[in-house]
Symmetry: D2
Subunit: 289 residues, 4 copies
């Protein structure tokens, strides 16, 4: 979408029961308030009793009211009538993203680089880790690093420290190979706002050492899946997936290396989609416009 990163634009995201007149009502409202549409996507799971999704990007320049007025009016005039679940995101209100890591650097570095290169329009107030290993790397990108170690006994306490750091500071969280399971309480505080990345195989291998199992089964594809975190481990709504071909020639350590490559690539695409407000969650799946 050309110019969708133009700071003078906003993105309107809507989901609601599908019924006639939704598009007309929304576009009429935007037009009436001088919000010129730059691009739009719609999707319906089923026009008869299904759910309708819409993402509209519009210019703010000729908006005839303030942002709060616009939002209030939208709620009153359109959203209430159609029982909409909606939000608006302004491109000039750059999102704040916390990154949680453990010891692997591949995802972290890729995210930091994409921010510095201007590919990601995002603020990264800090990186949090339960290890010291990635401090230098993080600092070399001009980003702060919080080292919060934990033991079995201090796990709950450490999570509380993490939450305190995050509070009011971030819009969403990326688990860039953070090897700790978040508590349901943590997850509940950031619904649809924690992105995780993990390897994926065809077929799936459960338990420890999945790369070893994949090697022993002679799989021909190694993949990665980025998803939103829910209470069910690695079962949240999928944002993005991809795979790379491998053969008998790859050793277990080669497969791990390929998996790392997939992880950083797939995570980057998921973060990009989230940053541009292209993801709508619906039950346990996503609509990615």
């Amino acid at each position: 979408m050309p110019d969708s990163r133009n700071p003078n634009t906003a993105r309107l995201l809507i989901s609601c029961p599908d019924r006639p007149g939704v598009v007309a009502a929304v576009s009429q409202f935007l037009y009436a308030h001088g919000a010129n549409v730059l691009g739009s996507s719609q999707h319906s799971t089923d026009p008869r009793g299904g759910t309708f999704f819409m993402r509209m990007v519009f210019y703010l320049e000729d908006l005839d009211v303030t942002r709060p007025q616009f939002e209030r009016a939208f709620q009153e005039v359109v959203a209430s009538k159609f029982a909409m679940d909606w939000r608006v995101a302004y491109a000039d209100e750059v999102k704040h993203m916390a990154i949680l890591v453990s010891k692997y650097d591949h995802c972290l570095m890729d995210l930091l680089w994409r921010r510095r290169s201007g590919e990601f329009e995002v603020e990264i107030p800090f990186v949090i880790s339960n290890h010291e290993d990635l401090q230098d790397l993080t600092v070399s990108f001009g980003v702060g690093y919080h080292y919060l170690p934990l033991s079995k006994e201090t796990k709950a306490e450490q999570e509380q420290q993490v939450l305190t750091l995050l509070e009011n500071k971030v819009d969403f969280i990326v688990l860039a190979r953070y090897m700790q399971i978040l508590s349901p309480e943590f997850v509940a505080l950031y619904p649809g706002r924690i992105i995780n990345i993990h390897h994926s195989f065809l077929p799936a291998f459960v338990g420890t050492n999945p790369y070893k199992h994949a090697y022993e089964r002679g799989v021909k594809l190694i993949g990665a899946t980025a998803h939103y975190v829910t209470d069910e481990l690695d079962e949240g709504p999928i944002i993005e997936q991809d795979v790379t071909r491998v053969s008998h020639r790859e050793s277990v350590s080669d497969l791990i290396r390929v998996g790392r490559e997939m992880e950083r690539t797939v995570l980057a695409r998921a973060v990009a989609a989230h940053l541009e407000d292209r993801v709508l969650i619906f039950g346990n799946k996503t609509v990615v416009f």
Copy 2:
């Protein structure tokens, strides 16, 4: 798009100078006439003085007027005002597709199979060829075959015969490896309605025997491009492209085989997009929703 093949739907395709109010006007019009929107895509090359593209799929069930009335009203109420180039396609008016072939069967067979399997919603009134080779194959799919041979001297005459056969019988034409160049007059009669397929390389190799050149250069990718035919040979708007990896192990004949595979796959995707009215032409490029 779920249900987009529902026979009780229509697709509205619009391109026009981008200016405020287009989406509102169209969706308001549809809503007012009981045309419930099933899905929609929009794209703008530039909201300030660019071109705007829209595809809307809607239900016909509750339409409050006849199709001709609907179309007349749309022209008067909406299209004129915004200087729209537009058309509406009804899913129950199945398109008629002629296939022109020479001797290669891979693309032809794939198209015939996809029709028979129900994947393509299309009528194929006949296949035309300058060779007899593919008659049995075509007939075995229950499709008629016109053998219209040509020599250097009879080329113009044969093309006339082809045109006579096509006249009023088909909506669009697929050149499924038809090894004859169509005259500008022929092309002018079917603007944006002739689809061609050919191999593609990185880098490109001009002249005869491109696979041999590709082999000698040791390319690692073999591809195909499907495009609309214009007067400039193989330079028309691209609908679809794809590639497959190859290595030094492939001989020239292996590369040709890979190329065939790409051709039938890419052509099938391009035909699918055309059949579902997902392609809008704009200058020398396409918007494929």
Copy 3:
């Protein structure tokens, strides 16, 4: 591999405990008997106590002995010494492949077409099905069709009929969407010689209606896996896998269509590898040269 389909060539396939001197012994033997090497691939799972795999393609033209003599000598001079599991396949002894199908035609037609187009060097003595549906299609390709229906009660009996038909007639069997589970006795008669194809997902979905589950989970990739049949359902050595990207826009029936496309493509690649004797089975995995 250029010319590997040259009828005047043979392929030597070896697996054995890895120890020094294997390659030297084999290549010395070939050289001594006038068997000029056209290409070769080797792989070792671990040079210290692992398993060694080799595939050598060589010319028969200057072979100084008959084929039986060559094989006897190889066993005596080389294979015994290294405890080799080996076989030689002559390109002019075209393999015989039976195809078992039920009602889906996509894999069957693709296989028949690849044979007719010369892409597959293979004889297809007949197609066997538990349904009548694909008889016309099969016959139109000049291939015989055996309709062997079955009910719950006659399952064992029908399988016996299938086995009788196959006996001494085929080298390997392709289950081109044959919706019956073969008995362990059947499988035991054709070890590493029955190829099956099925859909694959990330993550995997067990039970009925996997496409519906994949849709509900919002997967972004739809794949297929071709493998050799063993007693454990769909758990045999993988020959080939691939995936295609999908999005929220695909309905369940779209996903099924994409799955079909993947199935025929992946199955064709697996059959090609088998026909060219490029697959070696090792435990529950394959080496595909």
Copy 4:
């Protein structure tokens, strides 16, 4: 190939006129000297008068002679007889790679990271640039940076400075988006040892601003090609290529971003192949084992 990075291994690379007995002679020689083969690949352009290529990885542990003795003996006993072009690379003699850059950081950073993460077994003695921009980045990875600016007038002089720096310090050179054309004299000093990366399109677009042309033509694929540098600009032997899908939604700047992603990925694969001595050059093409 498992363990191919084991420091106690060597890689023997051979190309020669194809004739009977090559494999036997080489493997016999290795066996006789206690060089246990870990893996091997062969390829012949044509066994009758074509060129034969071989790569053998073997263990050094039980070698019965010193490395110089081994190499001398190989030349005398085997290489001379078959008119071989050959070399042996020892895994523990880590290659030295110079990186030349201008202002773009994506390729440079990816290379530096892959080295630090242990993915690349390589020494990077320094980075050379005609701009100061990437100094901090380079230094943060603990690698030295030489800033050698140039103007039209000082181009030859600057190139001489570069050559002086490189002399006896590096095994090969990577142009990681170095926006200067090297002189034929420079190129002649490092035959098959300078790797370049550039974007690739289907079809190709020459001249300035290729991404703009690609956008205007509506291409659906954006790619990159890594090749060895020869005197003909961007026409040297291709090592690796890949593409990514794009659509009408990508703006010119989006295409550039996708192109960057492709460049760093494709360059990394090409460098990996070079580091592991998997590339053999033959005329204007490569064999990549």
